[in-house]
Symmetry: C2
Subunit: 146 residues, 2 copies
């Protein structure tokens, strides 16, 4: 989506990413990387016996991080990813779930210095149709002239 300049964006426009399956390897890699070995993510026995989900679930940050890899971002366009409002983890992502992004532009603000802020709703959705993560993201993008 971020392969065009600020002027080419429109409020209400939408974009959908390709999908990615969240594997057991992803859970292990993310625990190893982050240091977050919380049993709900890393202990199969505990997750099956002691949690309402009856299985391991992916870390919220894992799903959100995978989301950044599904965004198309070109360096000529994106100046900075500068923040998130109201991030919610609303449903669990299980091993072998396949997630994709659904974006909708909700605000465009010209900064008057060759850049503008694109605000969009991001939903991360899985194959069942359930939304697992919702967030409002803000991206600083270049204008044509810049």
């Amino acid at each position: 989506m971020f392969n065009k300049k600020f002027e080419q964006f429109e409020v209400n426009e939408t974009w959908k990413s390709r999908g990615r399956t969240i594997t057991e390897s992803d859970l292990v890699m993310f625990s190893a990387f982050s240091g977050d070995w919380y049993p709900l993510h890393a202990d199969k026995e505990y997750a099956e016996k002691c949690t309402p989900f009856k299985q391991r679930i992916a870390h919220g940050m894992l799903v959100l991080s995978v989301g950044t890899g599904l965004l198309q971002m070109e360096p000529e366009v994106v100046v900075a990813f500068y923040g998130i409002e109201k991030l919610r983890f609303i449903n669990p992502t299980f091993i072998n779930d396949t997630v994709h992004l659904e974006l909708e532009v909700i605000d465009l603000k010209d900064k008057g210095n060759g850049t503008g802020v694109i605000t969009f709703n991001q939903k991360i959705v899985k194959q069942t149709g359930e939304t697992v993560v919702t967030a409002i993201l803000k991206m600083l993008a270049n204008k044509e002239a810049n």
Copy 2:
């Protein structure tokens, strides 16, 4: 910090984590894991020649994810990490920077069902004293009785 029950928390209490050095390996692992190979994080030549930082910077989500590994969380306590408000990436984290967490409890809400919501300001701070990430996090925690 999350190794005690809801009743034991107090508004204004603070907690500081140990540190972790963000290495070049971390940047590579995070790109490989997330699929985010944006040149600012992954292309040394580009980062040195074409960006105001003159070097690669860590992905915002990398720093935030490392932050989750620095939280102490016990499964008897934490029911769910359910969201973030107002996440801002305010300064860059470079390779070899060492970050730690600084938490302050700002709100406690008893849910009346054996759990309560702990809201806290989280800052991720580096060795220079600069804050790199700010966020308001919400954690659902068990009460003693639960």
